[in-house]
């Protein structure tokens, strides 16, 4: 594996290895001196075409604790409007002698395109409405911490699936790890071609949250973005919450052992009730803290190997 562009780049063994290393990194994180020397002399650029404080700082800390030199480059705004092509931007940054590029882009596929033009290792830190593989890894990591082996576990991913980059990565990775995944959303927020896709890949999907709820080991609630609310995808926020929110009633119907994830930021009161995020079954804060460990593990596996 040279790059991490999609969760599909990870074999079952790759995924388990990254998750195991993440656990070791998590231990390092709890030490007083957190630095490991493994990426000393290596340069990583966080090339962000879209703001994301959470993801960017998580990658930055991860790189620094591995002793890499980390530089943040913000290329916000459409490169089209600035007149510079994606290729030019990528090659300019790469020409500075970079070992790794961590790319966040508002357009799907941009990190993959960049790999055609530069030699550096590329990590996809979220591209458009396509994928966000390190988010999926940290979700799997936190779920695994609480539930153990994810093989055979039942996971529902609920919310705005059309516009979510998280759902694709999670679906792929969870299935690589042997979990049983169901996608739940109103038909207007399902990815297009879901019937063909689910049939080809062997996962399930549905429009009825309550039907799947009692059998779940984990539920992942995805954010519904404000701009969708007036876009005619569903009539009102109130109606959305009744159909697809993790409400108090649904919390009662969710098995006691089940866990709740949300990649954040949350719309409390819309897709998730105010109480849900704070209850014992919630992994939401664990997800944030696992972010650094998982990204340390990813950077170590992609860049650390070449050194030895």
């Amino acid at each position: 594996m040279k790059h991490l562009l999609s969760a599909a780049d990870l074999s079952h063994d790759d995924a388990l290895q990254i998750l195991a290393t993440a656990e070791q990194m998590h231990d390092v994180q709890r030490r007083e001196v957190k630095k490991l020397p493994v990426l000393r002399g290596r340069t990583i650029v966080n090339l962000f075409f879209e703001d994301s404080t959470r993801t960017r700082s998580s990658f930055e800390i991860a790189g620094k604790w591995l002793s890499a030199d980390v530089i943040n480059v913000s290329a916000k705004g459409s490169s089209v409007s600035k007149g510079e092509s994606l290729r030019d931007t990528a090659m300019t940054v790469a020409a500075m002698g970079v070992d790794g590029l961590v790319i966040r882009h508002h357009a799907s596929g941009a990190p993959l395109q960049v790999t055609q033009w530069v030699d550096a290792m590329v990590v996809n830190a979220g591209d458009g409405t396509h994928e966000h593989p390190t988010q999926a890894l940290l979700d799997a990591y936190t779920m695994q911490q609480r539930l153990g082996d994810l093989a055979g576990k039942r996971v529902a991913i609920v919310g705005d699936l059309t516009h979510s980059r998280v759902v694709r990565s999670n679906l792929i990775l969870l299935r690589t790890l042997g979990a049983d995944v169901t996608l739940v959303a109103p038909p207007t927020l399902m990815p297009s071609g879901i019937a063909d896709w689910s049939a080809a890949e062997g996962f399930s999907y549905g429009y009825d949250f309550d039907e799947v709820l009692p059998d779940l080991d984990a539920v992942m609630m995805l954010r519904v973005q404000k701009e969708r609310m007036s876009g005619g995808y569903f009539p009102t926020p109130r109606e959305y919450t009744v159909g697809y929110g993790l409400t108090r009633d649904r919390l009662r119907a969710l098995p006691d052992h089940a866990v709740i994830c949300h990649p954040g930021p949350m719309n409390r009161g819309l897709e998730i009730t105010a109480d849900a995020a704070d209850e014992a079954r919630s992994l939401i804060l664990d997800q944030v803290s696992a972010g650094v460990a998982v990204r340390m593990s990813v950077l170590y596996h992609l860049l650390g190997g070449a050194e030895s």
Binding site: S78, S79, D88, H105, G109, A110, T129, S192, I194, W197
Partner: protein
């Protein structure tokens, strides 16, 4: 001294109907005598098929405005190399071809270059804004004699404006060529056929139904107004069904399909290569199959390239941000040969109809699309139908390199093109005036 304008073409298969010699003299096809006239250039056309010079209903030449991507001159060279004798230059230049003056300028640039007749398409609406009619009548009366009107690149989505345009062009035998894309169903961001692949790739979907509903609406408007409607770049099985129905009703609708929609499927988008970004988008195999059938049975009248050159820096963006469009002039006939003629779906006579006769009729180009008979203007194309060619997209007469056929093996090689008796392409070499 040899006469540059006298050619004896020996042994060409005339539109697939049998071998016959052709004499080109004084710009027309002449009687072949017992001996070659003195000074005639002899063209050995053994094994070649002769077609009436091709006519493209849909070309983007980018001049004026984006001369870094294509000019009338470079686009004309690409056209000649592809076997074309006439091209219709779309109006979405900068400034837009929405006045008589703009139309005459494009027309004159084409004549000055002389490789191919460049016939301007006039905009339907001022500035392609979709709000009020451009000066359709003045463009029609101009030296350019505009007959085809299109806001191509954009759909004339306002039903009332479309109705008025259809009605108005009746006065001078015009036709409205519609870019069928209901903008509420497929907006400017839509760039990938809506389906499983767009779902997996996370690319904004362009559903086929966004084309189908405009085709259906405009066909009913054409019936209501009794006007001529042309559907540009048909890409869906749904549109085909509606057009087939309309023709059975006797409604005056014609349609074109591009070489890329006949051959390349949406699966090409898998690697996010912007070369394959085009509007309407590449469709699934089921659509491609129906498009081929419709072309073969005449439901679709014409093959038109939608040749859309783009500078590198407009294509080397993230897929969603890259420019729409791909080259087509140089490979169009090869593609049609590869996917239609060689598999036995079309005869050469049908190719002549779809790539010359019908487009010339639709566009009202009197001197083009004529039979290869004595006394007719000597517009013709010679193709070697059996050569297998690996396309090298870096070798092109176009200024741009967004060639979706690069690296592809196609069957057939255009050898020569004649425009009113002058060789514009001979032995695959473009011959500028």
């Amino acid at each position: 001294m040899s006469n540059h304008n006298t050619f004896l073409i020996k042994g060409a298969d005339l539109v697939g109907a049998g071998r016959q010699d052709l004499l080109i003299k004084d710009g027309v096809l002449a009687e072949v005598g017992k001996a070659a006239p003195k000074g005639a250039t002899v063209v050995d056309a053994d094994g070649l098929v002769a077609l009436p010079g091709l006519v493209d209903l849909h070309t983007h030449l980018r001049e004026p405005g984006r001369e870094d991507a294509e000019t009338v001159s470079t686009g004309s060279a690409a056209a000649a190399a592809g076997g074309f004798a006439a091209v219709l230059a779309m109006a979405n230049t900068n400034p837009v071809t929405d006045t008589a003056e703009a139309a005459e300028r494009v027309h004159d640039l084409g004549r000055a270059c002389g490789l191919v007749d460049v016939q301007p398409v006039g905009a339907v609406s001022k500035g392609l804004a979709g709000e009020s009619l451009a000066e359709l009548g003045l463009m029609a009366r101009s030296r350019a004699g505009v007959r085809v009107f299109s806001d191509d690149g954009k759909c004339v989505h306002d039903a009332r404006l479309m109705r008025r345009a259809l009605e108005y062009v009746k006065a001078f035998g015009g036709v409205v060529s519609q870019h069928a894309q209901e903008p509420r169903l497929a907006d400017g961001a839509a760039c990938c056929h809506e389906g499983e692949l767009s779902g997996r790739l996370g690319l904004p979907g362009w559903p086929g139904v966004a084309e189908d509903v405009i085709v259906a609406r405009d066909i009913m408007l054409a019936r209501h107004t009794g006007s001529r409607l042309h559907i540009a770049h048909v890409s869906t099985a749904g549109s085909v069904e509606v057009i087939r129905w309309a023709k059975a009703q006797g409604i005056a609708v014609t349609a074109e399909v591009t070489p890329h929609h006949l051959m390349l499927s949406t699966s090409r988008l898998d690697g996010y290569d912007p070369t394959y970004k085009v509007n309407p988008p590449l469709r699934p195999d089921e659509d491609i199959e129906q498009l081929r059938k419709a072309l073969a049975d005449g439901t679709i009248d014409a093959v038109a390239t939608d040749h859309a050159p783009h500078a590198r820096h407009d294509k080397e963006h993230a897929f969603a941000e890259a420019a729409f469009g791909m080259l087509g002039l140089e490979q169009a006939l090869q593609v049609v040969n590869t996917v239609m003629v060689q598999p036995g779906l079309m005869t050469w006579q049908q190719v002549a109809d779809a790539m010359s006769v019908r487009p010339a009729q639709i566009a009202g180009l009197a001197g083009h699309g004529r039979p290869l008979e004595v006394g007719e203007p000597a517009n013709l194309t010679l193709i070697d139908p059996s050569a297998t060619v690996e396309i090298d997209g870096t070798q092109s007469h176009s200024l741009s390199r967004n060639n979706p056929w690069h690296g592809e093996k196609l069957i057939g090689q255009v050898q020569a093109t004649f425009l009113r008796g002058r060789a514009t392409l001979l032995d695959q070499e473009v011959i500028t005036a």
